[in-house]
């Protein structure tokens, strides 16, 4: 049997007495959009943190394309091909949109002081090329004309698109998106959904935390239902949404 594309096995994360993840296991298939749903506090963002090296699970293991990721630093996991966004965006407010993208481009010449001081021409030439690359990525998410605008002057919807551009810049093939559609107007929401579908058609695999069930129905190929740090169910959106027990949990029932 070939190993799963992304596999989490028996993840355990506790913050003091709170068990944020309990024996949490799931798989993500290559080339699909998988939505991670569940009530507040179910552990969705904790899963992102555990996969991307931002926190070390006490138990359990994550592997990607057969490679075990446990103990790797966040930047090593990005290099392995997994990048994540943040629910609160965490863009660099004092940089331009283009610079936000450029920070995430890998293998940048002149990103060490010696290269910057002693090979300035080489760094400048390389930078010119990378700028074009950055502009292409911005154009790809629909921010072509915003390249030189400071993040703090972008609208919220544009900032959300920029977080996706920054993810794309890393070159990662598995993108973990934390609520890419929350807080958006109807038009912006539609644009994000179209963009996610397009990224999928270009070969990216997406794991998306999403609250809006209409969005989930529209974009998800697969749904992971998380409750109290445990994976309750995995299946197609139709199956998950029509399950009365899950709906009970999700829409305010007690368990």
């Amino acid at each position: 049997m070939t190993p799963a594309y992304l596999q989490a096995q028996g993840l355990e994360v506790a913050f003091g007495g709170l068990r944020a993840l309990q024996d949490c296991s799931f798989t993500v298939d290559k080339g699909r959009i998988t939505c991670l749903v569940g009530p507040n506090g179910a552990g969705k963002t904790t899963i992102f943190n555990a996969i991307t090296g931002f926190l070390k699970p006490q138990e359990g293991s994550v592997s990607f394309k057969g490679r075990v990721l446990d103990g790797l630093k966040p930047q090593d996991i990005v290099a392995a091909g997994i990048a994540r966004s943040f629910q609160n965006l965490r863009l660099f407010q004092d940089l331009t949109a283009l610079d936000n993208v450029l920070v995430a481009l890998p293998n940048m010449a002149g990103e060490d002081p010696l290269g910057a001081i002693f090979r300035p021409l080489h760094a400048a030439r390389a930078l010119k090329q990378r700028r074009d690359e950055g502009r292409e990525i911005l154009a790809h998410v629909g921010l072509a004309d915003k390249a030189d605008i400071f993040v703090r002057n972008l609208s919220y919807g544009e900032q959300k698109l920029l977080t996706i551009a920054r993810l794309l810049a890393t070159g990662a093939e598995l993108l973990l998106l934390d609520e890419p559609a929350s807080g958006l107007s109807a038009g912006a929401l539609e644009a994000v959904m179209v963009l996610l579908r397009r990224l999928q058609s270009e070969g990216k695999t997406l794991l998306v935390v999403e609250h809006n069930t209409r969005v989930v129905q529209k974009i998800a190929d697969d749904v992971l239902f998380l409750h109290q740090g445990h994976l309750m169910a995995q299946g197609t959106p139709e199956r998950i949404i029509s399950d009365p027990a899950l709906a009970e949990i999700y829409f305010g029932g007690a368990i």
Binding site: T52, F54, K73, P74, Q75, V78, A79, A83, R84, S85, F86, R90, L91, F92, Q93, D94, L95, D99, L102, V103, A104, P106, M108, A109, G110, E111, D112, P113, G115, A116, I117, P120, A123, A124, L127, R130, R166, A169, T170, A172
Partner: protein, 287 residues
């Protein structure tokens, strides 16, 4: 004319130091109050080497820079563990320790008396004895420092440092090593402070601990704040302005007995005023 030369040379040394402080405080967000200690180590190393005729000026300056690179990395290492406010206290402790060593290690530093009679620097055997040549030397050194700073700020490394100052987690999520970049910034700041020390020692031909104490560190921070954080013009303006200030004050009729404390008072007021009314300094960005 001598006064003008020493003013220019001293201001240039402080420009180099200001760039060092700016790299750490303004750009990488490592708030240190111990840059004068690193400056001092550079000065003492060059002074000691020249007085005991161990090596010539250029190798001594390189040695001082190298030692200060290592020292500054060690000194800023705590900033990678303790953040923000806590690091200020740590670095304050480092500054006090350094002053204690400068004063008490009489064998190496001459103690409170300092090291007088440092021989003039030489460039590959050619001694630079006149004031003109010495100013030329500090100008060349500081010029190179400014060029390096300018190159860094427009290179991807500068952007990475700015990003780190804003959000370390986001930088890690973008796949970049935060630790490595911070250590690089600290190393570079150490090289700047070390060479500033070497230039200082040879220009004055005398060093003593009072030039490298907490007051000096604070003066340095004042220069960065008043001039303006994170920009080259700011780093140049600050020292030239603040070093001219005592001379300007000399035109006001204050008794010499209180001149020193009046100066401290004015620096204090300046810091408060700038923080309140112009946090970006004269030609900089908001700290």
């Amino acid at each position: 004319m001598d006064f003008l030369y020493s003013y220019i040379a001293l201001a240039e040394v402080y420009v180099l130091l200001g760039l060092s402080t700016n790299l750490l405080v303004g750009i990488a967000g490592i708030f240190t109050v111990s840059q004068a200690a690193v400056f001092g180590v550079g000065a003492y190393i060059v002074a000691y080497c020249l007085m005991h005729e161990i090596v010539g000026f250029v190798p001594a300056l390189l040695l001082a820079s190298a030692c200060c690179v290592v020292l500054n990395v060690l000194v800023t290492l705590p900033s990678l563990r303790v953040s923000g406010d806590y690091f200020v206290v740590t670095s304050f402790g480092i500054q006090l320790m350094a002053t204690a060593i400068f004063i008490n290690w009489t064998g190496g530093t001459g103690g409170a008396n300092g090291l007088p009679g440092i021989p003039p620097p030489d460039l590959f055997g050619f001694p630079l004895e006149s004031n003109e040549l010495l100013v030329l030397l500090t100008t060349a050194g500081t010029g190179f420092g400014c060029l390096a700073f300018w190159l860094i700020m427009r290179a991807p490394f500068g952007r990475l440092l700015r990003a780190i100052r804003e959000d370390e987690l986001a930088v890690a999520a973008a796949g970049k090593g935060v630790l490595r970049a911070k250590v690089s910034a600290a190393a570079l700041a150490g090289a700047f402070a070390g060479s500033a020390g070497g230039l200082y020692a040879t220009f004055l031909s005398f060093v003593d601990p009072s030039s490298f104490d907490l007051d000096a560190s604070i003066l340095l921070l004042t220069m960065v704040v008043v001039g303006g954080a994170r920009t080259l013009p700011g780093s140049i303006l600050g020292p030239f302005l603040l070093l001219a200030l005592p001379q300007a004050l000399a035109f006001i009729d204050i008794p010499t007995s209180i001149a020193a404390s009046a100066r401290q008072l004015i620096y204090g007021l300046l810091l408060i005023a700038f923080m309140l009314f112009r946090p970006q300094g004269l030609a900089g960005e908001k700290l």
